[in-house]
Symmetry: C2
Subunit: 694 residues, 2 copies
């Protein structure tokens, strides 16, 4: 009820206030431009630069997720869904940790997550001038290549071949700034604890992106160095006391991608072309996988992790489609743009062309090229799903073939993902030991081939190149059956053998990838020349215009790099989203029907009598988060960790395009619930003690 | 190339000309308001009222399809896809007519299509005044009920219980006119010929909605009366001569539904809410069925017909989404509306409210209620898919339960589909002997339950009512396993036993349907009161305004009733759609790869040497058609049949919302190709002779 009086005026206020610059609580801020004074004023807190530094050095990027260090010996809390693939990789149908939980009795029983690494951001340096100089006077693909090459050079100069560091040139404000981020990198990450999956996913896809919520979506990993737990003197203090409504909180993590700085024309392309295609083909895959999972226990086991991931992405997409077709929200976006354009026009009278017009002119090319690019290459940075290839085996083969072809060139001339500075990460993924389920691989590859044929049409020369005279069913079966790439030793040998080994290989998947390079690379070149380069150039102008109009009190779109947001613990009271700030174990017992996904995990249920029903499980906060923020430590003014962000609501998905204070709610699993689970359910007191708990 | 010079100016011309009234070639005209003079002038033909009467009496409505009588003994040509369900119902996995074709040697071998009937439109009478009077002074659900009751009364008065007639009050111009259509009804329809399915579906879903096309999508049924072939002295003369580009043609059939008279606000609701939901859930079902079809030969056999139907609907929806997000096309629609509103405002200065504003005000309710209505009841008349229930067994149970409940009331108080005048049709569908595949039924019902839960959310009371504490998987399995409704005798007994039998039944599907009546009927009442009634009232005002602004040279939206359209045989030359007017057998042999769906049907392939490669298979015409026009006879000035309409192109799908002369192309299988198939492939010379062929 707290918000209801504010609500009546909200549309008008939003349309006006948000048009200028970031409002209270808004913004996924970089650590080197965090509005300390404003946050302190808004929240009544007193944080300072030293606080920021400690929080940054306690924050961890873990794959596509975020995490926080919670002990001096490398212990890190993240979400259970962030370790789900690790758990699946470590499990077999017989020993299925998703069912049992993973609760190693001693530290020595912690097991390495295949292919995982974790990073802590240690340094930020400005490289804007150097990057902008590299692209000067260029356009089209030359522009893109020159920029990519310069980024690779900067990264290589700064990190060289140091396996314990990673350097990354980060594009901020869509080209308004470039920063060199340096990370301390941990390549040995071990699973320290995961609950029963159902304890973390109670309510499954149905409760996903909603609140009230009753999920203990937390897990622990441990950073290792030289085969020993990493020493991490800087870390978050564990605070498992009962959370209090209204408490100011900060969320520190790596939100994946927002598109708030896009123009209206760009958003219409996403609404009309990008999301419909992505969602429709994801929905079909979902149907195929659901049916597959019903064919038997093995199939159910194999399909579980892919279905969860797919449904999460899909539901997020549904939320985004709703946002882009919400008249009130889009009116707010239009008003913001009108304000910005007006300020820009006033300051630039007589200018030949403005960046909005330029970007509008690029949209027909985006609409034309999105389908081939998304389907054949992926990596458009626009959609919700990454489709290309469909299967893991295909992706490995592509990495091997492209890696070999690219490494035969000087670093600056390569596709950027194969620049010298990035090879270490490529290898980590490629060499990891992971289970491969051929039937699932075949389903995914067949789906990809058939959807590509459908969307590009059967007479498209690229489709003819992909399929020849074979069918999606036949081709995918032949390649998946014939390939040896499931064996990491085979992958390693092919990688180390370079182009000669690749070209001599009789592996059908390798041969297939070799055979489709011309078509797929051409699609990418076309995209870079006609979409990426002109978009980036215009976006850079737009960024400059934004700084001119609003000063530096603006934050960049999320880019999968570390950000800090702030807000309060609070519920929500807008139409379609009314809830208090907290849920408790009592609520969990109430909601449980016994039928999946509303069945309580067996060990958790068995501990019912030991658990105080009033203990808070999850809470809602107003901080500005998005996919990628999963696992983000939620921190109070004292720098203590209160929980881990793990979700938001369906309505909150609009925050891909704009922040709406009344609607935006992130969902947090509390340290209290985690302590309860560790201590009262899973016999993991040793972790509670390690964190300095009771 | 013919069209290219016109094309440059097309956008402007369209926006202007189409804003006024129907342009040359545009319009699915009713037979009692066909613009004879204008068509003759545009085409250089000389048709008259007698010609129209003959064409009408030679035209057949066959389920959701159209057809044409082609002999004096009740022989009727339609599309093969219009008899696909009949073929599937008559087939078993062992004797699969979709594989072999159905080519009975003698007339006595023709087999009855279960549950099928066919109708010829014999009379049209105006009942506008009576219908409008019935709704006078009423609003909300009372308005809807009074109208429905009056229609039922009119129908019953005119047709009584005559089993050889059907009477239907047709709403035209969205309430601008009401006409009583009287049909001669044939309840005994037999399959006379169907080719191998692949001969009719060469290219499958990939070539569907496209041209060039190489499909002999034709089949024959025969009308029977008193167990003998019907005498049909009025029929189309068979003309199998080579078609000539530019020839004027008329297409006579029953196009299903267009939405051209909708306002911009209504179209935005379809774009934002209706199509996305329909398409996304259809796509998931498609995935489930595709995977099911891959599990074995039985599953492939069972799933074939449902997949074809689903993919057809889905692809049409994709075309419609493209239309509603096509800036140029939507600008044309906006210009039309602006012109209309301006004329209306000029003539109605000072009026309190206009129908556009009223309809805009209804849209929030449509957006809110579309999902529950479409999922729980179906029949919104807005979307592409009919979802409710998912399964055939469920639908039968609903008909039985509702039929019993409704028949206990006077006809005028019933749900309109159970009015006395409509019970005969209900029974025909209910008593038909059809194969039921339990696994498929279960998949569809599970999908429906799980999608309903997803879209309405798990906490929606209606969802709780649907599922109780069961899961979609468990509930659907329990009901499908337990029900006896697959047996037509059981259905007949329950129907004839009335409400007492229904309430006493221990059939779990019947019990389930009884248990969910409150929730589902409430959704429907809500829809009728808050959406249907205000929409119908405002649409009626809009229709009156349209007649006032543009005279009677406007045609009504398609309503699944008989219409006549006109145009020419011609190709297309717009971006994304360039082709000549004809395809030949030579082209078919060229396009065949051997891999499904590009494999030539075996018997057709075996006849290759007997077939003149230059024989035209399919042709494109500019006539204005839409789904439901399938099977429509294509007729020349002399009243001879030249082919059967079976498809259009993806771009043509915009014609749901507006006619675009440059883009709109219908796809026709020619009488020449059909003659070749009958004579040279399937040994059906007797039909060729019956039609007076060579």
């Amino acid at each position: 009820m707290r918000l209801s009086s504010a609500l009546a005026a909200s549309a008008a206020v939003l349309a006006f206030a948000a048009a200028s610059s970031a409002r209270a609580d808004e913004g996924m801020w970089t650590f080197d431009n965090f509005p300390i004074a404003r946050a302190n004023q808004a929240l009544g807190t007193n944080i300072d630069q030293a606080w920021l530094d400690r929080v940054r050095l306690s924050s961890v990027k873990f794959g596509g997720c975020s995490a926080g260090i919670v002990s001096g010996e490398g212990l890190v809390m993240t979400n259970n869904h962030c370790v789900a693939t690790c758990v699946a990789n470590l499990s077999t149908q017989a020993i299925n940790y998703a069912e049992t939980g993973f609760a190693p009795r001693t530290r020595e029983d912690e097991v390495k997550c295949p292919g995982s690494s974790a990073e802590v951001l240690t340094d930020i340096a400005d490289v804007t001038e150097r990057m902008q100089r590299a692209g000067q006077g260029l356009s089209g693909q030359a522009f893109t290549q020159a920029r990519d090459a310069e980024a690779g050079r900067i990264e290589q100069e700064a990190c060289g071949g140091d396996p314990n560091k990673r350097c990354q040139v980060v594009t901020l404000y869509r080209g308004g700034q470039f920063k060199l981020y340096t990370y301390k990198k941990y390549s040995d990450v071990r699973l320290a604890f995961a609950p029963e999956d159902r304890a973390a996913t109670f309510g499954g896809d149905l409760d996903n992106f909603s609140f009230p919520r009753f999920a203990i979506d937390a897990a622990f990993i441990r950073l290792y160095e030289n085969d020993a737990p990493a020493q991490t003197p800087i870390h978050f203090k564990w605070n498992a006391s009962r959370p209090v409504e209204g408490t100011p909180v900060f969320v520190s993590g790596s939100p994946g991608a927002t598109q708030r700085l896009l123009t209206q024309d760009q958003l219409m392309t996403i609404r009309d072309v990008v999301l419909p295609m992505d969602q429709l083909i994801a929905s079909e895959l979902r149907g195929r996988l659901i049916r597959y999972s019903e064919e038997g226990e093995r199939q159910a086991f194999e399909a579980m992790d892919p279905i969860v991931g797919l449904e999460n992405t899909y539901k997020r997409g549904v939320g985004r489609m709703r946002a882009l077709t919400d008249a009130q929200f889009m009116a707010m976006k239009a008003a913001q743009e009108a304000d910005f354009r007006q300020r820009h026009a006033a300051a630039n009278a007589g200018a030949a062309n403005d960046p909005w017009t330029t970007l509008a002119g690029v949209q027909p090319a985006v609409r034309e090229l999105y389908a081939p690019m998304a389907l054949l290459e992926g990596g458009t940075g626009m959609g919700t799903t990454s489709v290309a290839g469909g299967s893991q085996l295909f992706n490995w083969a592509r990495t091997l073939v492209r890696g070999a072809q690219e490494r035969a060139k000087p670093s600056a001339e390569r596709l950027p993902e194969y620049a010298d500075s990035r090879l270490a990460s490529v290898q980590t993924g490629l060499f990891a030991e992971r289970p491969v389920y051929p039937e699932l691989e075949q389903i995914r590859m067949e789906w990809w081939l058939s959807k590509t044929r459908e969307w590009l049409t059967v007479d498209d020369p690229r489709v003819r190149g992909l399929l020849g005279r074979e069918s999606p069913e036949g081709l995918s079966a032949r390649l998946v059956e014939g390939t040896k790439l499931a064996d990491p030793a085979v992958r390693r040998a092919l990688w180390e053998g370079g182009l000669a080994a690749i070209e001599a290989s009789d592996d059908p998947m390798i041969q297939y990838l070799l055979s489709i390079q011309d078509e797929t690379r051409a699609v990418r070149s076309d995209w870079e020349a006609r979409v990426e380069a002109p978009t980036n150039r215009a976006s850079e102008q737009l960024a400059a215009a934004r700084f001119a109009a609003y000063g530096d009190a603006v934050y960049p779109d999320a880019t999968g790099t570390l950000r800090l947001t702030y807000g309060r613990i609070e519920g929500s009271d807008v139409p379609g989203q009314r809830f208090g700030a907290f849920t408790t174990f009592a609520g969990l017992w109430d909601r449980a029907t016994g039928a999946a996904p509303f069945d309580v995990a067996p060990k958790l249920l068995a501990a019912k009598d030991r658990i105080d029903p009033d203990t808070v499980i999850d809470m809602a906060v107003s901080s500005d988060t998005i996919g990628g923020s999963s696992g983000s430590p939620v921190v109070n003014e004292a720098g203590e960790i209160l929980g881990a962000n793990f979700d938001s609501t369906v309505l909150t998905q609009r925050n891909a395009y704009g922040y709406d204070r009344n609607v935006n709610r992130s969902v947090i699993v509390t340290t209290g619930a985690v302590t309860t689970a560790l201590r009262d359910v899973y016999g993991m007191e040793r972790l509670v003690e390690e964190m300095g708990g009771e």
